[in-house]
Every structure is written in C-alpha cells, then in structure tokens.
C-alpha cells in the first residue's frame, strides 16, 4: 500500500481537475474522486499492467459516466448556465478570467464524449492510446471525436450557432 500511496497521491490533483471540468460542480466532483480513490485502494492488487494514470482516469471516468446516466434517467439536466464556470475559474486577472470563463462555458455545450476526450488529451496530457483505454474506444474513434470536439469548440468560439452546424453536417 505504500507503493500505492507513492504512485497515486501525485495524480489526485489532476483527477480532481478532470472530474470538476466534467461535472462542473466542486462537491459533486470531489465526491467522484473520493469514490474513485476508494475503488483504487480496494482494487490495487487486481490492476493489470499498464499506466496507473490511465487506470485511475478509467475508474473516475466510468463513475462520472454512470452518474450522468443516472441523472439523465431521473430527467435532470446538467446546468448549462455560467455558475459552474465562475466556480471553476478562480485565480486569474479580471480580463483573463473572462476569457477562461468563456472557453469553459463553450466547452460545456459540447456533447459529453467530445468534452471528455478534449479534457483527457489537451488538459490531462494522456496519450491517444491511454485516452482510448479510458474511453473504452478504439484509437480511431478517439481521434475522430477529438477532431469533432475541436471543430465544434472553434465554431462555438467563432460564434457559429450550433443549430446551423447540425444543419450543415446533415447535408454533407
């Protein structure tokens, strides 16, 4: 278990960041991370070879996804207002803060699977192979999701209404 402490503890801040960016609520995100760590402790001896980092993100991601599913089943929607962004962005100058809030609120409009891949790759620095393992999808699928996520986020940032994007896509 000492071995576990050494390998897992340094990764907790990144797990927290991923959870919070995904669920956009501080306490819900920390609950997920706590759940993730408890599972990691109990399954430490059963994990298979490979990156501990990818293993932890997989546990966390699966917990987040099943929570999304439960929320959906109960008919609850994830908030799309800016409250989450204000809470997310803390340390920064006023102008910078607005830019950050803006990019996060646009990220929040992306479908969950696109958001997840963008966060894992662009923010958490997972390799494409590790991201594929976390998302339980082939690397090719991960790449096309990443491509769509970046394109869509750019359209959001350039002010193209998502409705138009859908219409254009269905024509091509």
């Amino acid at each position: 278990m000492k071995d576990m402490l050494v390998q897992v503890e340094p990764l907790i801040p990144a797990l927290r960041r991923y959870a919070r960016a995904l669920v956009r609520d501080r306490s819900a995100a920390d609950d997920l991370v706590q759940d993730c760590l408890e599972r990691a402790v109990s399954r430490w001896d059963q994990r298979r070879d490979g990156s501990v980092r990818a293993w932890l993100f997989t546990i966390l991601h699966n917990l987040a996804v099943s929570q999304f599913r439960q929320a959906k089943a109960r008919g609850r929607h994830m908030p799309i207002d800016d409250a989450g962004e204000r809470e997310l962005v803390s340390a920064a100058g006023q102008e910078q803060r607005l830019i950050y809030q803006d990019v996060l609120s646009k990220l929040a409009r992306l479908p969950e699977e696109q958001r997840a891949v963008l966060l894992l790759v662009a923010v958490e620095d997972l390799s494409y192979a590790d991201a594929a393992a976390v998302l339980n999808a082939p690397v090719g699928t991960v790449m096309s999701r990443l491509s769509r996520a970046r394109e869509r986020l750019q359209q959001e940032m350039d002010g193209v209404a998502p409705g138009n994007v859908v219409a254009l896509r269905s024509l091509t």
Partner: protein, 257 residues
C-alpha cells in the same frame, strides 16, 4: 523527398505536442505552405492553451481531507475482516428470504444433481464475487499452481477455461466447500468489472453426461451440465442469452479429450 502524407491525426498530434521532432518539423514546414490549415491548427493550439489555463488553478488547490489517500488506505485497514464477512452473509440471507435464493432449474426436476451444483455456485458467487479484497485465493498469474492444486484435490485433471474470446479474463480461483465435497471455483472479469464464476466438481454419478440446463436465482443466472461425471456450472449477473455462448465455450474447452 519521400515524405509520408500529412494526416488529420498529425495535425492533432502537432497541437498536442506528441510528435517526434522529425515529423514535427515536416508538419511545421507543411503549415508554412498552407496558411488556411495553419490558421486552424493555430486556433486549436489556442483552445488548448485556454483550456489548460482556465483549469490550471484547480490542480493547485489544497486537497480536502476526504481526498487524503493515506486516510482512505488507513480507513480500509481498520475495517475488521469479520464485518465484511458478516455483511456478505447478511446479504446472502436477505436475498434468500426476499428473492428466493434457491436455484431453480428451468426444466423439470430430474436434473441429476445439476441444480445442487448450480445452487452451490450461486452461493459461491454471492460470497466471493462482491469481494473486493480477496475474491480469489490463487491469482491468474499463478495459473499452473492453481490448476495443479485443484486437480489434486478433485482427483481429476481440471482445465481452467480461457474466456478471452468472450472478453473475460481469468482473475484466479480457489477451492470451495460444497455439500458434495470440494469444488474448484474460477472467477473472471471484463473491462467493466462484471464478474463471472465457473465452478466444477465430480458428480455422484461418475459417468454422468447431461445437456446444458439453464438455471436462475434472483439476479444470478447461469447454466449447468455434466461431462463424463464432471459437473460444470457458469453463473453471473447477466442475462441468459449473454451467458449461453460463454457456457458453450467452456463446455467445448473443458470436455475431456
């Protein structure tokens, strides 16, 4: 120059700084010649920087006590083992009372002891499958030792089925006690953590051959059969349709040559 074609994936790997220096240089020179694509790549890089900047402070926050890993590890150690055992036993009794834990054959009751075997497997599943600490006694990495041990104890050559074609990996196994003597239990899991239990022991009728019989008990379902006096059963919390092909695979592999 004999250069590999530029792929969309390369552009992303360029943005994510995952390219080898040589390839990176190739992409950079391509972008110099293609300003429209360079513009898109620059925009993606800017997105990346903004996302990282926006979220960076979260990783700098002090961790709350609930996320102190040392506490979580300590909390686990202090939970006495007997408490876990008791929870498992209570769950089993509770299920028995409420849901009818008795294994029922779906076919009429002339199953030559197969329902007893399936029932034993359901109990075994109820106790070991939810166990997060030590579901198996000998892990898959010591497969040879496991095979030898159970074969010695059952006085029959036992083959451990390989279920990788069905997406299940062997976690390991153990010997379990049944009212008909020792049985070998093997546990498997898939990428979602769903667990299956395969159990085998000699049947009272040492020449028994039977067809495969579906079994069910609450949320645990499975199949049981016998080949040359050896009884086999597969149980799990999955629909019968999903378990059937896995049971067929086990039967194929376990059948004495």
């Amino acid at each position: 120059m004999n250069q590999r074609p530029i792929m969309e994936d390369d552009l992303h790997a360029y943005v994510d700084q995952l390219l080898e220096p040589e390839r990176r240089a190739e992409i950079a020179s391509y972008l110099d010649d293609h300003p429209d694509i360079a513009g898109r790549v620059a925009a993606y890089s800017a997105q990346r920087e903004q996302l990282r900047g926006a979220l960076a402070s979260i990783a700098d926050e002090p961790l709350p006590t609930e996320l102190n890993l040392a506490h979580i590890i300590e909390g686990r150690k202090r939970r006495p083992r007997w408490a876990l055992g008791m929870i498992a036993a209570m769950l089993l009794l509770g299920l028995g009372g409420l849901g009818g834990w008795t294994m029922r054959s779906v076919v009429p009751e002339n199953s030559n002891g197969l329902s007893a075997l399936a029932q034993e497997a359901a109990y075994t599943y109820g106790v070991y499958a939810p166990d997060r600490v030590r579901p198996v006694e000998i892990r898959a990495s010591d497969g040879a030792e496991l095979t030898q041990w159970v074969s010695n104890r059952l006085q029959r050559p036992v083959k451990v089925p390989d279920l990788s074609v069905s997406g299940y990996r062997l976690m390991g196994g153990r010997l379990v006690a049944t009212s008909h003597g020792a049985a070998a239990m093997f546990m498997y899991d898939d990428d979602h953590g769903d667990r299956l239990v395969v159990m085998t022991r000699p049947m009272s009728d040492r020449k028994l051959d039977t067809p495969m019989v579906p079994q069910s008990a609450g949320s645990v379902a499975g199949f049981a059969w016998a080949d040359s006096g050896m009884g086999y059963t597969l149980v799990g919390q999955l629909p019968g349709d999903t378990l059937k092909p896995i049971a067929n695979e086990i039967r194929k592999q376990a059948r004495p040559i």
